[in-house]
């Protein structure tokens, strides 16, 4: 930014940023680094750690050494399985959000400006409603004796409850429901920016519908789609409320695995810290790939 007010603030950038750096640095960055250290310490029973270097947490995560720890290590599938299931669940929820969210965003972005803001307002309200309340409401609705089953049974469509609660599907539904607005908003922003005169021009130049979609619209809308997918996938991966309230033991996800390590006497802090580090690494990789793709898009 040139001249103007920058002469008031020039040279004071660091001073103005300092409070935010101090707060986030000391109460988030430092704690995350400390957690990384904790993942290499020895666990103390009843929670907490002993300050003694150990790889036991990561070892427990990846390898099975038998009950007494003296057998040759085999790959341990329990925890890798939980991570894999979480990735799978978050992925399915993201796809569901995209399938419903894209047409919705497209529809809203192509209304006239007045009704557009009303539709958008309707989609954003649930985002402002407490996530716990929304998840509890979903649980109430789909429970075996809940209104959905009551209604379907009373109208004779089904004869016994659907048994939705405590299934993988319920968790996906919960994640989908929690993060759907995150998919709609960035795609909406991208489509709104799109100038429909471009597709008319393409049609005048004998481009077919498919060609227009692929070569004219997709490049404009793609950043919105990718941003939406990231915004749904990342929080879904570490979600706690949806799997905990809507799922059962069979739908255990990363969030619950980590939470369990810090609650009660059965906890294992280094193991919980190690699982958190692995989750953090996965998320940072996803974000890095995203940042790379955005930069490439800009360079072109």
């Amino acid at each position: 930014m040139g001249g103007g007010s920058s002469r008031i603030y020039r040279g004071n950038g660091v001073k103005l940023m300092l409070p935010s750096w101090l707060i986030i640095g000391s109460f988030l960055l430092l704690p995350v680094m400390m957690m990384a250290v904790y993942s290499f310490l020895t666990k103390e029973f009843r929670g907490g750690v002993i300050w003694e270097f150990s790889l036991a947490a990561y070892d427990q995560f990846f390898f099975d050494r038998g009950l007494f720890g003296d057998e040759p290590p085999k790959l341990e599938w329990t925890y890798i399985g939980i991570f894999w299931r979480s990735i799978w669940q978050a992925g399915l929820a993201t796809i569901a959000c995209l399938l419903i969210g894209f047409p919705t965003a497209w529809f809203i972005a192509t209304r006239d400006p007045k009704s557009r803001s009303i539709w958008l307002f309707l989609v954003t309200i649930p985002y402002w409603v407490n996530l716990l309340i929304r998840t509890v409401s979903m649980k109430f609705l789909i429970r075996d004796t809940g209104p959905l089953n009551e209604f379907l049974m009373a109208s004779g469509i089904i004869s016994e409850p659907l048994g939705l609660i405590n299934t993988n599907f319920a968790v996906q539904l919960g994640l989908f429901y929690s993060y759907l607005p995150f998919m709609v908003l960035p795609i909406y922003a991208a489509v709104e920016r799109y100038d429909f005169a471009l597709s008319e021009a393409a049609a005048d130049l004998y481009a077919g519908t498919w060609t227009i979609l692929r070569l004219v619209i997709l490049p404009v809308v793609k950043p919105g789609i990718i941003a939406g997918c990231i915004l749904v996938f990342v929080p879904s991966l570490g979600a706690f409320l949806a799997p905990d309230l809507l799922g059962g033991a069979k739908t255990f996800m990363i969030g619950s695995l980590i939470e369990e390590q810090f609650k009660g006497s059965a906890g294992n802090w280094p193991f919980g810290a190690a699982a958190s580090m692995i989750l953090l690494t996965i998320v940072m990789c996803v974000l890095l790939v995203y940042a790379r793709s955005q930069n490439k898009g800009e360079a072109r």
């Binding site: 930014m1 001249g3 103007g4 007010s5 920058s6 008031i8 040279g11 950038g13 660091v14 103005l16 940023m17 409070p19 935010s20 750096w21 986030i24 640095g25 109460f27 988030l28 430092l30 704690p31 995350v32 400390m34 957690m35 907490g48 419903i100 047409p103 529809f107 192509t110 539709w119 307002f121 989609v123 309200i125 649930p126 402002w128 409603v129 407490n130 716990l132 309340i133 509890v136 409401s137 649980k139 109430f140 609705l141 429970r143 809940g146 209104p147 429901y177 607005p181 429909f196 049609a203 004998y206 519908t209 227009i212 969030g255 939470e259 810090f262 958190s276 989750l279 953090l280 998320v283």
Partner: protein, 272 residues
């Protein structure tokens, strides 16, 4: 000429949009309706009544929930206020101070709370607070909330500041305004809508948080979400539905407020 297909009107997109809204609203609507149920059973309909709303304020669990609500409110107001002040300073630096050392990295640091998964933030905060012997309680919740409120307050403020040309302040300075006057009398009034929506967003985000609070709160201290979670673990009771509906109402009031403030900002921009 290729067949004229109006890309603006895909058939079926209206239906999907309505489906989307039904999915988003059905659970909330059902809970709101059942909160007026007179019956103690959450399944059977026993007629319309306000029993459970009375119960929320006077029932056996009322003191617990009132205390939790007060905690939530105080923490949200404090965390959002601190975060808004810090975020405003950061937004001024990012949009007005030109280049300075650590700008790119500093921007990443501000957004760090958005990138780290919530459960990881929760674990890290717990580990950190327990390591430095910071007794868990209201203060730890406040500190943790302030951290993740900063980026949410920052986004609308920075967006607003980017749309204010800096000629206004330059003109003020040319007319012998001191830097502090230029900020107080020119920039601040112009950025107020951004600051207000930043505060509201941070406030709602703080009120919304369950996971991080649940990790850093001490024994016996509850916020509204942790109290509701504890109660729901033993089954959904009708008073929870009344509380949920009340919170839903509060959220709707807040969205409408921030929407109106956003509109106000736009009108001003058009007027100027």
């Amino acid at each position: 000429m290729a067949a004229k297909l109006d890309l603006r009107r895909f058939p079926g997109f209206l239906a999907i949009t309505i489906l989307c809204l039904v999915v988003l609203y059905a659970p909330l609507a059902v809970v709101a309706v059942y909160s007026f149920n007179a019956s103690t059973s959450i399944t059977n309909w026993g007629g319309t009544s306000l029993t459970w709303y009375v119960d929320v304020f006077t029932g056996p669990e009322a003191p617990k929930f009132q205390k939790a609500a007060l905690n939530s409110f105080v923490i949200a107001v404090c965390a959002a206020s601190i975060a808004t002040i810090i975020a405003t300073a950061a937004a001024v630096a990012m949009t007005r101070a030109g280049r300075f050392r650590g700008k790119t990295l500093g921007f990443a640091l501000i957004n760090l709370p958005l990138m780290v998964p919530e459960v990881v933030t929760a674990v890290a905060s717990l580990v950190f607070f327990s390591a430095i012997g910071f007794t868990t309680g209201l203060m730890t919740i406040l500190v943790a909330h302030t951290v993740f409120c900063i980026p949410f307050a920052y986004l609308p403020i920075a967006a607003r500041m980017q749309s204010i040309p800096d000629q206004y302040e330059q003109a003020a300075m040319d007319l012998y305004a001191t830097p502090s006057e230029a900020f107080r009398l020119v920039l601040l009034p112009l950025m107020t809508p951004g600051v207000l929506s930043g505060f509201l967003l941070a406030f709602i985000i703080s009120l919304d948080d369950f996971l991080i609070t649940n990790f850093v709160k001490g024994a016996g201290i509850e916020t509204l979400p942790t109290a509701i979670f504890g109660s729901v673990k033993q089954g959904i009771k009708p008073n929870i539905m009344a509380i949920s509906t009340l919170m839903l109402g509060v959220s709707v009031v807040f969205v409408s407020l921030s929407w109106l403030i956003g509109r106000m900002g736009q009108d001003k921009k058009q007027a100027s």
